[in-house]
Amino acid sequence: MREVQITKDLVVRLLQVIEPRFDIEKVNKVVLNVGSGLGISEAVLRQWFASLTKGSKLENVAVEIVATEGQEISGKLVVSTAERVGVFLCECGPNLKEALDFPALIEAARLLDNVVLVKAFSLLCSGDGQQGLAEDIKTNQLTRVVIAGCSPREHEHTFKKVLKQAGINPYLLRIANIREQCAWIMSDKQQATDLAALMIKAAVRRVLVQEPLEEKEIDICPDVLVIGAGITGMSAALALAQKQRKVYLVEQLPCIGGKTVRYEESFPNMECAPCMLEPKMDAVLHNERIETLTCSDVQEVLGYFGNFEVKVKKRARGVDEPACIGCGACVEACPVELDNEFNENLSKRKAIYLPYPGVLPNVPVIDKAHCLRFQGKECSLCEAACAFGAVNYGQDDEVRELKVGAVIAATGFDLFDAAPLGNLGLGKIPDVYTSLAFERMMSASGPTEGKIVRRDGSVPRTIALVHCVGSRTAEHRDYCSGICCAYLAKFARLIHHKLPETQVLSIYSDLCFPGKKMQPFFEQLIRETNTHYLRVRNPNALQIGQTDGVLEIAGVDVEEQANCAGGTLRREKRLNVRADMVVLAPAMEGSRQAEPLSRLLDVPVDGARFFIEEHVKLSSFATARDGILVAGCAQSPQDVAGSVAQGVAAAGMVLSRLVPGEKIQLEPAVSVVDEKRCSGCKTCVDLCPYHAISYDGEKHVSVISGVLCRGCGICVAACPSGAIVGQHFRDEQICAEIQALLK
């Protein structure tokens, strides 16, 4: 656009002067500068202008009235004219000036079509440079800008802002990367200058066919969905629950607290885990900004950062939560007995049950897969036993549709299944336990109320702890879970406390005690208790068998001795020990619910079901999908402290970016469908990695969501009808560049 200054005086004269001189079809608007001293009101002026232009080509042209000082009245027509391109070369201090022949570049750029200004700056990105650029754009009435300098990845944003300030659409900028991809990479000055000239030419040709794009903003929803009500999810939810924000805490189990609440004590300070968690769980359940949905599964997550639409299915508990007081009368009445998975199957539960004593929420749940009534038999014993009418067989599953701005996946971990290994005896020998089962055995709320006993009820005199089960081996999980050495040391400490006469054999290949507390804890353990660490080459290769009730553990022992040359000598000998009980420490893996959730969230998990983070160090709690965060053991194996820290970190990310009342900017360079050309073949629909394309059954065309599209252009290249336009990377723009680079 170019503003044409018209002489002055009254509008009548303006029209007489301009009409024969310009192609009036191209007039975009008329700007009238009206001196306030004249005392003409805007309404009168508009009327006057309308009567004067009636029947002329200017009849329906937009009029902008600007109040000025004095008693003058003047006007200008804003008309479309040929594009005026400015080419700005940055010398980048001495960097480019010396590496390229600047006078030659300037001369070459001047000859290019539509280029009205070529100018070199010593440092365009500096404050002075930016100011000079803005002034030149204005004074030369530039319509498009080419900047030749550093990579667009360095300063495209900076210069887009300058264009905006100078009144040009920021998408009418093209940057020729004559620094990184020319001067700095070419050894010959002449060749570099030739290439730079070519790059500038390509940028000018391209910028001439670029289109202005509108930057849009959309409202955000500040509410957050947290998946998993373990220590991580609860920590995140509590941090997020602030004014003007609601948190939905979704838990697939009937209770909150995750795995941690089922431990007796936790390392390194041997603090009672339920005591530590109780206040947190209480705070979660009584926080009016947190809605906890137990027995619930996420079914669908659509949308994008700031605006997700989520479906959560809340499975019927069969007991009305507000009516139930948690007395447990219904549980006693139930005739069905099943293994209790909350106690790692070391005890029984009923078909209506509380997972463990002290569970929160303290409301029983009906296991419909095993309840006689739900299996079609006549039974209503629990209903009859309830004095409060809380048992409700007719309760329906409920699908909740939630709107949230962000999602935090805190789905925790499961243990590597060591049973298929066979040689370690898990699942075959009753007194071989997993670490989680042993945690429950030591817990006061567990199957033995904290007593360490064998299946036959006897007290074990020797307990073997086996490290690294399924860990640190290419055959199973190649990583170290990082916490097993610590919790096995905790086990040894607790065993010593409960059974001082019992010997502990800790069978390991390498030990890992990071952090400021665990090494002293371990050394104290060795000093004060009857614990022996036995080193073997590979705990996964142990053979654990049983003869006459005694467990026999055989393996290869490794002894290392320094030899006189300063190296080490490794001497192997057979390990052969007996124990009454074996506890395995299997590798931690991502939760089994992570895999289906990964598909819903569109965030991949790795081979061990850990969600893949955006960056392993800098952004371990974010994912590649904006607005979906991941925390705690859902991301990688961690201890309680690490999980809490990550949960709060993820919450902090959300707090800083999802501010109630603020809007988020949308990327304008996205793809759009030309409905007239779309044949409705749906090729694009399945190709889009962001599910941004849907099919309009009425119009028989594809529709691209401007907010979901990230502008990758996969659909553009794939459309057989050429009906999809990749804005800012249109075919004609890319082809203009190709041609300019070659001819």
Binding site: S151, P152, R153, N177, R179, E180, Q181, C182, A183, W184, I185, M186, S187, D188, Q191, L195, L198, M199, A202, A624, A669, L687, P689, Y690, R710, G711, C712, G713, I714, V716, A717, A718, G726, F729, D731, I734, C735, E737, I738, Q739, L741, L742, K743
Partner: protein, 147 residues
């Protein structure tokens, strides 16, 4: 130098990995031995319409190079796999047109692989130099004047 054939190679680079990789080469002041490929930035290799490659050859390119994120690293998750599929077809089509296979190449360069960018771009220039100018029947005339 002026006697030597100077190959014109157009390189399509994805914004996230390969374009950054080329920038990284520049920042490290790693120099290409001779000419440089002529870079066209696209957001993703998945955006590369096979027609762009054909257009480049039609407009007089002696070679076309496509560089994207390594498989599994695509900023848009799978755009490079889409390119890989088109690549197989393109190779076939180009050889049907009488364009030697070596004139067209797809490779992966990450944002940190400045060295690799230099190597791949350099090898492409030398491969095409060895092949000589591309002579297509309908562009033969314009090629004569260009060379």
């Amino acid at each position: 130098m002026s006697e030597q054939f100077q190959p014109k190679v157009v390189a399509f680079l994805c914004n996230w990995c390969s374009y950054s990789g080329a920038d990284a080469a520049g920042r490290a002041q790693r120099k290409v031995p001779a000419e440089l490929v002529r870079i066209v930035r696209v957001m993703c290799t998945g955006r590369i319409d096979p027609q762009f490659v054909l257009e480049a050859f039609r407009q007089g390119a002696d070679g076309v190079l496509i560089l994207g994120c390594h498989p599994g690293d695509c900023h848009y998750k799978e755009g490079n796999y889409k390119m890989l599929k088109r690549h197989a077809i393109l190779e076939q089509v180009l050889s049907d047109f009488g364009i030697e296979k070596q004139r067209y190449c797809l490779d992966w360069v990450s944002a940190s692989e400045g060295e690799k960018f230099i190597r791949v771009a350099g090898e492409m220039i030398e491969t095409v130099r060895a092949l000589g100018p591309l002579r297509l029947p309908h562009t033969a005339e314009s090629k004569e004047t260009a060379v």
